[in-house]
Symmetry: C2
Subunit: 181 residues, 2 copies
């Protein structure tokens, strides 16, 4: 049975966390791993209804995701979180509760994100129609020592995926793709 | 790899849910299963801080436990809930989200519980010092068709455990104890 761990994506809205989480989840399942993706929206529905976007509520939300990831990871599942998780201290608190924790900083300049603005959220945040938007009028604290940084403005999702899988193999979190399981 | 399912204990405070949950968890682990016990207190700390004991808050708490049990169960874990879970509709809602769900009604007359009163809670509830206490001034809705009823005022925890394991084997949730895994 494969060993579980938590794969934690962090980054601004629209940077590509969910896209990369989906791609890696698909590939890891194909390789025979058990995988669960906890994205921000699903978790807000099931674990954190009623919480808002104050620092305290965001922290509570991330702690809950961390708790569920830990339960899954210690039972052999690769638990993937794709929430913004803007605060370094809380991410590190979650990390400290894990035996195996792999943090991926999904990095993209705010200028690129406001230009792309797939969901139109940055425009609204800049216009003041959404308050407390991470990166605009709410903080985002970059990880200091993430296991991997992917820069989504200069590499494609497939390139990020390949680098991520390579690093997971190299660090012994998963078997090399050619290996028999 | 063994298949996961959710083993859901329901019953009044002090009826013996946690005792039986611990015993069965220990035995199932001994037999090689992956097991997680979500008891009421642990979950209130990690998933439901800030929730009170109104019907709405109790329902939210139980839905969260149900969600986490489902994530674990579909990944091969035996997820055990030992929360009071007083409302039938919410238990049935959680059941409906599961492929495999085994409900154990831990039954004990309120008279026996108030006599034992290990934690002194019934005395306080009867004196009005605790409000909204299940079975005293807050409802408890017995399951109509639980997979098993254990009556903790007429059988020992070991007897309940033996009956529970027998039923789990009989229903195909776990292999017979003599079988090789």
């Amino acid at each position: 049975m494969s060993e579980g761990f938590t794969l934690w994506f962090t980054g601004l809205s629209g940077a590509g966390k969910s896209t990369l989480a989906s791609l890696v989840a698909e590939e890891l399942r194909r390789r025979g791993h058990r995988v669960e993706v906890l994205d921000g929206d699903e978790v807000r529905t099931n674990l954190s209804k009623g919480l808002g976007f104050s620092k305290e509520d965001r922290d509570t939300n991330i702690r809950r995701i961390g708790y569920v990831c830990r339960l899954l990871a210690r039972n052999g599942v690769i638990a993937i979180s794709a929430a913004i998780s803007p605060y370094r201290a809380i991410r590190d608190e979650v990390r400290a509760q894990h035996d195996q924790f792999f943090e991926v900083f999904v990095k993209c300049p705010i200028e690129t994100l406001t230009e792309r603005d797939v969901k139109g959220l940055y425009r609204k945040a800049l216009a003041g129609e959404i308050k407390g938007f991470t990166g605009i009028d709410d903080p985002y604290e970059e990880p200091l020592r993430p296991e991997l940084v992917v820069e989504t403005h200069i590499e494609t999702p497939r390139q990020s995926l390949a680098r991520l899988l390579g690093r997971l193999e190299q660090a012994g979190y998963i078997a090399p793709s050619g290996a028999r399981r």
